[in-house]
Amino acid sequence: MMLHMEGVHAHYGHIHALRGVDVTVQVGEIVTLIGANGAGKSTLMMSLFGKPGASSGRIVFDGEDITRVPSHLISRRGIAIVPEGRRIFPRMTVMENLLMGTAFADPANFNADIKRIYAMFPILEERAAQRAGTLSGGEQQMLAIGRALMSRPKLLLLDEPSLGLAPIYIKRIFQIIRELNTEHGMTVLLVEQNAHHALRVAHRGYVLQHGEIVLAGSGQELLASEEVRAAYLEGGH
């Protein structure tokens, strides 16, 4: 088991953002969390990093309890995050951005890792010396994913990777996620508002509502489920 969250509660000040959440991610799986705005998706992801920390419950990653581990040490254990809104370093070059992802990785792997990332995203190699802020939204998302992969994570967290991207890039990003999983065996936890795409690419999914898991199942099941269709698929999109 890669990740196991058990009865996790989390608070933002007085707001009870997570109310006893149980989430499991197996090795080699793509798991997605869907839910409306403010359902607690991003909170769940951030609580993995201890910001906000779980006020009760347990988070176990790769066999070790990380509930009380300081934030900056968690990523060194093999969790990498592609934060919401990409959050690349705009005035630094593409290459420097990738380098930042390796802050705590073995420098001996740098050359091999950067080649791997460039092979995955050739556009990043072309733009290596360019300021990251000059990339398009989709390219920035690829850079954010590349940066996260530079640390050779065991688990990759993606927070709303399709947010604010052109439709062609949305397709491309989900294709990348699938490739990462099938070709590189990456375990992925994906938070998305774009339920349709997310459920199609995921092995399993959880539906989050008001800080609670209201539904869980395989991607196909959830896609077919009446509740999910009514609430997340046929409404807004």
């Binding site: 934030s71 968690i74 959050r87 420097e96 930042m100 802050a103 072309e126 010396a129 300021r131």
Partner: protein, 433 residues
């Protein structure tokens, strides 16, 4: 790169020949009726005569003319293409580097040319103090993006550390220098801790308060700092133990007697100038090196996006504190030099105006730009000096100049940023086939 483009546009001699021959053929076709045949009035009757010589010349001129004309056009086109290709490569870093070497050369030779002009060298020394302070503050503000309005506090800590170490324990300049730097760094961390969670405006206000606290303590803690009266007769630095005095003390030598030259008050002034030049250059090398190390990149990443830094597993606390500590240490070094140069310090030298000036140098120069700091320090110190003739309008002029610079160059005089890591050659060519 330009070679490729020329090759793509250039014609082979055979092609040129064919092109010109084609034009000559057209000229021949047109030329037969227009040039080759002519009517001549022969006793009232028109007769047609041939002018094959003229026609031959016409075709020949067309051929050669076309050949030359085409060649000139190609030359222009190639030059434009080459220029466009060159323009794509950003030359700014090279230009800045060149300016740097020129400025360095000028600053090394300057005292030789003005060896009898105390005013010029004194002013240049002041410029260099500000350059050094600017480079120190650049670490905090320019690289780490932490707006510090109380930087002068560390300058004061450095200056007072030396003054007190001398007056209580008789320490010399060189002994006090590292201790004062460490002291300032400690104060930097002390300031850093309570404000770790603050950013932007809030951070600025707290640092402003910190700067004032240090000054107020220096004014009021009379037993320690001698209050507003300041501390005087601070000894000047020596050159490996050789003082710059007129008369050597019993059994010792001065700079003048050691080298067997006549004593001149200018020796000390010039020595101080070179001393601060060396200190400033060391600062520059130190900061440039740090920038290319992981800690320097972490500072810049912190400036760009703190949340992303945390997500990368960076210990933001340490990154911030290291920026504060190193910036403060450099300010402390500058403070020691200031105390030694003036021979007298009082809290009046460390008011908020100083902090504002140093910050203005960093911002005006272009945040994070080392060369920009030099140019901005020159502007900010020399402008008021040059403006002395304008008496009461001096500061007005100064303010106007600053506003104008910020209007024309909103991101500072030199705002381009040099990458801390470059592609190696193989990767570069691989990216652009």
């Amino acid at each position: 790169m330009s070679a490729v483009i020329i090759a793509r546009h250039a014609r082979t001699p055979a092609e040129r020949f064919k092109d010109a021959a084609w034009v000559a053929f057209v000229a021949l076709l047109l030329g037969i009726p227009m040039v080759g045949l002519t009517t001549v009035d022969q006793g009232g009757a028109l007769t047609v005569q041939t002018r094959f010589g003229m026609l031959g010349a016409f075709v020949g001129v067309s051929f050669v003319g076309r050949f030359i004309f085409r060649w000139i056009i190609d030359q222009f086109r190639n030059r434009r293409a080459a220029k466009a290709a060159v323009a794509k490569v950003d030359r700014t870093p090279q230009v800045i580097k060149l300016i740097g070497w020129v400025v360095l050369g000028a600053s090394v030779t300057m005292p030789i040319m003005f060896s009898d002009n105390r005013y010029v060298i004194d002013t240049a020394t002041t410029v260099l103090i500000y350059v050094m302070l600017g480079w120190g503050l650049n670490v905090v503000v320019g690289l780490a993006g932490l707006l510090d309005l109380g930087y002068v506090a560390f300058y004061a800590v450095g200056a007072y550390t030396y003054a007190l170490l001398f007056s209580h324990f008789g320490w010399t300049f060189w002994e006090a220098l590292p201790v004062a730097g460490a002291m300032a760094a400690t104060f930097g961390i002390l300031l850093g801790y309570p404000i770790l969670r603050l950013r932007g405006d809030y951070l600025a206000i707290v640092t402003l308060g910190f700067g004032e606290i240090i000054r107020v303590i220096l004014v009021n803690w009379t037993e320690l700092s001698n209050g507003p009266n300041g501390i005087g007769s601070i000894p000047r630095p020596t050159l490996f133990g050789l003082p710059f005095d007129r008369n050597p003390a019993e059994g010792t030598q001065t700079f003048a007697t050691f080298f067997g030259i006549e004593f001149s008050g200018m020796h000390r002034i010039i020595f101080l100038y070179y001393l601060i030049l060396v200190l400033a250059l060391l600062t520059n090398v130190f900061v440039s090196r740090l920038r290319k190390l992981p800690v320097g990149r972490a500072w810049e990443a912190l400036r760009e996006d703190e949340i992303a830094c945390k997500a990368m597993g960076m210990n933001v606390t340490n990154v911030k504190l290291s920026a504060f500590a190193i910036g403060a240490m450099l300010g402390g070094f500058a403070g020691v030099f200031f105390a030694a140069r003036q021979g007298f310090i009082s809290p009046e030298s460390f008011t908020f105006t100083e902090s504002a000036t140093i910050l203005a140098i960093v911002v005006l120069g272009g945040m994070g730009s080392q060369m920009g700091v030099v140019l901005a320090a020159l502007v900010l110190v020399l402008l008021p000096e040059l403006g002395r003739n304008f008496a009461e309008y001096r500061m007005l002029l100064f303010g106007t100049a600053m506003v104008l610079i910020m209007v024309w160059k909103p991101s500072g005089l030199l705002s381009s940023r040099e990458p801390t890591i470059r592609l190696n050659k193989a990767a570069a060519t691989g990216g652009q086939p």
